[in-house]
Subunit: 335 residues, 2 copies
């Protein structure tokens, strides 16, 4: 069933059928009604591929997500998809995994699918090494790219992010101002966002006149994400004699591990140990006590991603970088 069939059965040309299809005003009421009736009757649906070929777009946005199973990214996925669809764009999803080669390959795949634009989700997309991001610059030559929680300075690449440094700094200050002196910083990665958070940790300490103890900065393997592993790691630090009265983490799940650590040692929370996570995800409510965490405004970020993308696609001038401010959400894991 195609446009020719409809044209035949309703006694008009395919041009007129097409006009009806596209709500062109240059169709008489009578013809329009007749054509619509025939369409209804036949259950006609225009062929999306042909339309795509003609218009050179299928109104599709590519979402590149390192890991859809991660609760934070999953939430972002939901926000993005909803907003895009609300504006007439469907979303093609590719879970890229976390290594560079896969990401490059998958981005290429998106390009070949001829989507209208891409969103690269999460700070892990931007590598430390400038050269490793070149492929993004290259891809941006054929379509706009929006980075969620990442930053770079390429033509046709737009960045939407939260000021992680500021937010982390405030978390540190909050801890210090409530009596913590030795804050363990536990983090996962050294990517862009990871660097910013670390910088925030350092500037937070500095702002309160506390000297940095390198022993309190701990990089935890990215592959080890289980809560039990984090707990055991902290226990091992404790056994080595490392001393700390607060734990600040770059992700909520790490903070949950810290809670488990405290339970294992029967340390009363938050009296003997304050804990702050990052992302303000739902797991903050799952542990006991509930986690104080940094809310990095995911929904606002996602909405802005969509707004920026739509603006670019409509040819409007859009800001190359949009920065939101995080906010510490206080719960019972801190004093």
């Amino acid at each position: 069933m195609n446009i020719y069939d409809i044209s035949e059965r309703s006694g008009v040309s395919i041009a007129t059928v097409s006009r009806v299809l596209n709500n062109s005003p240059h169709v008489s009421c009578k013809t329009r009604e007749k054509v619509l009736a025939v369409m209804q009757e036949c259950g006609y649906v225009p062929n999306a591929f042909a339309r795509g070929l003609g218009l050179n777009t299928m109104k599709t946005i590519g979402l590149l997500c390192p890991n859809a199973a991660d609760p934070y990214l999953a939430q972002a996925l939901a926000y993005l998809e909803r907003a895009f669809r609300g504006h007439g764009y469907d979303c093609l999803l590719i879970c890229t995994g976390s290594n560079l080669a896969d990401r490059m390959q998958n981005l290429e795949k998106m390009k070949s699918r001829h989507v209208d634009g891409m969103v690269l989700m999460g700070s892990t997309f931007i590598e430390d090494n400038e050269k490793d991001n070149e492929y993004i610059r290259a891809a941006a030559q054929s379509m706009p790219i929006v980075l969620l929680n990442g930053s770079c300075q390429y033509e046709n690449v737009y960045c939407v992010l939260c000021d992680d440094q500021q937010a982390t700094m405030e978390a540190v200050q909050h801890l210090v101002d409530h009596g913590s002196k030795r804050i363990l910083y536990l983090h996962h990665s050294r990517n862009y966002s990871g660097q910013k958070k670390l910088a925030g940790y350092l500037s937070g300490l500095e702002s309160r006149g506390i000297a940095v103890d390198e022993n309190l900065i701990r990089l935890f393997s990215q592959n080890k994400t289980s809560v039990a592993q984090v707990r055991d790691y902290l226990l091992s630090l404790h056994q080595e004699g490392l001393n700390f009265d607060a734990v600040l983490t770059s992700e909520d799940i790490l903070a949950v591990g810290a809670v488990k650590y405290a339970h294992a040692l029967a340390l009363p929370l938050p009296e003997k140990l304050s804990i702050i996570g990052y992302n303000n995800s739902t797991i903050c409510h799952c542990c006991d006590p509930e986690l104080t965490s940094v809310d990095n405004k995911l929904q606002a970020l996602c909405d802005q991603c969509v707004a920026t993308m739509l603006g670019v696609l409509e040819g409007r001038d859009m800001p190359q970088k949009t920065v939101f401010t995080g906010e510490l959400v206080r719960r019972s894991s801190t004093r």
Copy 2:
């Protein structure tokens, strides 16, 4: 840059270029190399829409997900996308929301995008009322549909699911066999899967000769998902004088609420209260004590969804229904 440009620059016809593109064996080594070189040089990528129009497929599967932010569905999303992509299919994602009208509309949208097949994710897709599922039967006339965790008997609809009744029954038996006498069953919905779980609860009690107390079966509003709300709800039941020594829930998050409830009353777990969740999701590790939960084999289910879909698309005969068996994963929230 299209096939004509390449044909011109490499001094062959478009047919030959097309052959090279599709790895046809009927091309001399020399021509192939030359054409490939030109393609490389020009950074040529075939137009996906034109190809789609010609082949009548863009190798795309539609994923309809009620809520991508739900950890369980997010994990399913990740499994499905990965497996489909591994077999050459990309995934179009639509988050349908939980009400019927939206689901119908979104399924229609998928149809109009002309995907090769659809996966309907999660038990909420199948309504109690047979009539409300008719739209699925209708959609299946134009493309194969696979149901993840749902069941129905329509032509061209394939079901992959876990035997929730059996698994729930075993959970109940486990509780009874370890001393529980009054098991509160807390659930979220009355959909297909919900009914099965409830049936499992009932048959579990029956198998151990325990009479059903309707007061112990509690439907908790679907809109209220926060842990605190569940806790407060249980506290209110407690205040009303309802007596129970175990809580079995249809979802892990509800079980976390039960843990909070116990904490609020300072009930020792699992001595005074046993708790079992459902889905064996990551939040089982987040609370204290860690949750015993029913593992419903999500990865196996997803892999089977993909295998079934691929089989159907390749024209092979595929089972209309595939059922896996769940398994109780014991942790410290039960004796």
